[in-house]
């Protein structure tokens, strides 16, 4: 499955991998670096989701403002975040310790933003702090995934990314609980929520500094790829095919917000239960991330990546059939399974298509391509919904997804034939 690396996978699984993977221990164990990065993500997500959970309440009830003005800023932020991710990936590849440094800077930047919220009392200022927060997230994502790839033997990357994503999602589910516990214990304790969130974020940065090795591979030569080297990465056929497929499928992946809205309207879910929909997807993602990662290592990451989109297609079909609220759990199961089978799995597949010294840039390229494609899909889907209605828009998306998946299957099968190691 990991083609480009298949050649030297044997060498790496014994000598490279994580510093914590001592000989004698089963090589199959998840490297300590991955667990450490998982812990960093868990803690950081507790911190950031605490803020996300109370922000609307803070703006409306705490500050007495109406939050609709955020909408515009959000679009700008999304575009900027994608470009920052490319930058983060490129910077991380420069020099042997780049990944940890850039990731640490990204985590640090977001950590600083939490206490800054204590001082921002107007919508534009809050929007600006959130933009910096997202810049931090954009910077750290690619180097973090590169660190996970570099620390893990190629044949176990599916599991490693599965463990990481499961820990990440755990943090996202814990965050709101902590935030509301603080609000419960205090009087208008938004300042306490932001302060605690800042402390937790700092702890995440410290975990990274202390427990994530600066250089995943002691034997890795220190190469300093230039910007041009990052751009010619697309000449690697396997990475090009994977990026193309990620973009193609991203263009037909309806954003969560639209999908939940359609579920609620077509299946007649009472609107106060609406917040439970993303919670359901996240819970399924959490439970299935590791099993799906293991499955990916066994049957192939590309196969599972495609199968995940099959699950998504099944979800679309159920929403279109609108059989009644009883099937909402099944739709959420398919939606969560889609994320479990594609999110970490795509990163694992990407890792196999680029040489070690380009891991950051490679991860950023595929990730950014997918993110921009999904953003474009949102715009198109919104326009389609406006002109033809929600069901027609979803049916169109489902048709396009089918075509994309078939094309992707053809593209990715080529890769599978290469990798027989």
């Amino acid at each position: 499955m990991y083609l480009a690396d298949a050649r030297d996978s044997k060498r790496r699984s014994t000598t490279a991998a994580a510093p914590d993977t001592r000989p004698g221990r089963r090589a199959a164990a998840v490297p300590g670096t991955v667990v450490a990065l998982g812990a960093v993500s868990l803690v950081t997500d507790v911190s950031s989701e605490m803020v996300s959970a109370v922000l609307p309440l803070y703006v409306v009830a705490g500050l007495g403002l109406s939050p609709l003005g955020f909408g515009l800023l959000d679009g700008i932020n999304n575009g900027a975040a994608a470009l920052v991710r490319l930058l983060g990936g490129h910077l991380a590849d420069r020099g042997g310790r780049g990944h940890k440094l850039v990731a640490g800077f990204g985590y640090g930047l977001s950590a600083v933003c939490k206490p800054l919220l204590l001082l921002a009392h107007t919508l534009p200022l809050i929007g600006a702090v959130l933009a910096v927060d997202r810049t931090g997230k954009g910077l750290r994502t690619a180097p973090r995934d590169a660190l996970i790839s570099l620390a893990t033997a190629p044949e176990h990357r599916g599991r490693a990314f599965g463990v990481h994503r499961a820990m990440d999602t755990t943090g996202a589910l814990i965050g709101p609980l902590v935030a509301f516990a603080i609000l419960r214990a205090t009087v208008d304790g938004y300042d306490a929520v932001f302060a605690v969130s800042g402390c937790i974020a700092l702890l995440g940065v410290l975990l990274l500094v202390l427990f994530v090795p600066g250089r995943a591979r002691e034997d890795a030569p220190v190469v300093r790829p230039g910007l041009r080297d990052s751009l010619v990465l697309l000449r690697l056929p396997a990475l090009r095919r994977l990026t193309l497929c990620a973009v193609l499928l991203g263009l037909t992946t309806v954003s969560d917000a639209f999908l939940y809205l359609l579920v609620q309207r077509r299946l007649g879910l009472s609107s106060h239960l609406f917040p439970l929909l993303p919670l359901g997807t996240a819970a399924v993602f959490l439970l299935l991330a590791v099993p799906m990662g293991l499955l990916a290592d066994r049957i192939g990451r590309r196969v599972l990546f495609l199968a995940g989109h099959g699950a998504l297609l099944g979800g679309y079909a159920l929403v279109l059939a609108a059989p009644g609220t009883g099937l909402i759990p099944v739709i959420l199961l398919l939606h969560g399974a889609f994320y479990a089978a594609t999110d970490g799995v795509l990163a694992a597949a990407t890792a196999g298509t680029v040489p070690a010294e380009h891991q950051g840039a490679g991860q950023a390229l595929v990730g950014t391509g997918q993110a921009l494609a999904r953003f474009a899909c949102s715009l198109a889907f919104g326009a389609l919904w406006a002109s033809l209605g929600g069901s027609t828009a979803l049916a169109t998306a489902a048709g396009a997804l089918t075509v994309s998946a078939l094309v992707a299957t053809r593209f990715l099968r080529t890769d599978d034939e290469v990798s027989t190691a």
């Binding site: 922000l55 609709l68 955020f70 909408g71 800023l73 959130l130 208008d188 302060a195 202390l210 919904w385």
Partner: protein, 339 residues
Amino acid sequence: MTRTARLLTLLLAVVLLGGVATGAVLHAAERSGKKDQEQAGGPPVHPGAVDLAPGHGQLVFRNLAWGPHRDEITTVPADRPDAPRTASGLTCLRFHAAAGTGICLQAEHGALEDTYRAVVVDDHLRERHAFPAAGIPTRARVSPSGHLAAWTVFVSGDSYAGTDFSTRTAIVDTRDWHLEDNLETFAVVKDGHPYRASDINVWGVTFADDNRFYATVATGGQTHLVRGDLAARTLTTLHQNVECPSLSPDGTRIAYKKRIAGASPDAPWRLYVLDLATMTETATAEQRNIDDQALWADGATLVYSLPGEYGSDLWTVPADGTGAPATLTVSAVAPAYLR
């Protein structure tokens, strides 16, 4: 660094950061003690019976002054807004009342998260009917007859640092409890043509009678004043750049928030009045940023909230563009006149 040193460093950091975090929470928790003490020089508040029935010349609002009755619905004589407040014991985030009917938007603190509900109350603030609300309450209005109640809440997505907010607006008929729980399902007629869009948001209802109302519809980055017809389930656009309309008692003018081009993005909204017969706009003398649905005190005066030392204060300004803003009363929000 050895493994032991790293673990010790982590332990030290956990203790330090844990201390800061605990301190922040304790500090915030301590405020509950202060919250229960009346602020010096603040308006006096006493518990008592609150009657929403019209004819007593009362002004009702949510009291924000610190003390045991913070956040409760209180009344004062309309002509003496600084008189001691009578606190009802009912807490609401937003409130409005007319003709003996009140609508109270409340938070219910749950184990996992806050949930919200819209409660229709009778003239003695007793609960008649409650509806679950999908998000954080922002606007509330009762029709002049007391038969209809409307409310708007903010709904937000749960994505990372999610900033995509949208609104939900509902109207209930208090005679048969028929609920329109999302006005976005009404047919929109824009510039004379049927219009459909996925990004439609409706907020800020103001009632003309028991069928006709006005509201804001936002779509494609623009806000519109719409005239709503409850029976026909339609929303018809009348004018652009109008948010949070408020209909004058005689039904001829609309006070609203207007987004000013070139104004500081920090403070884009000014208070304007639109004449419905001529569609002419008049700027009020209030030059500050207004993020509230204004209320008509009478045919000539507008009431609105502005941020104050304790949440917000109520201000007045003449509706015809003359005069100057004046403080009505401090530490108060969500007013209604019980005529």
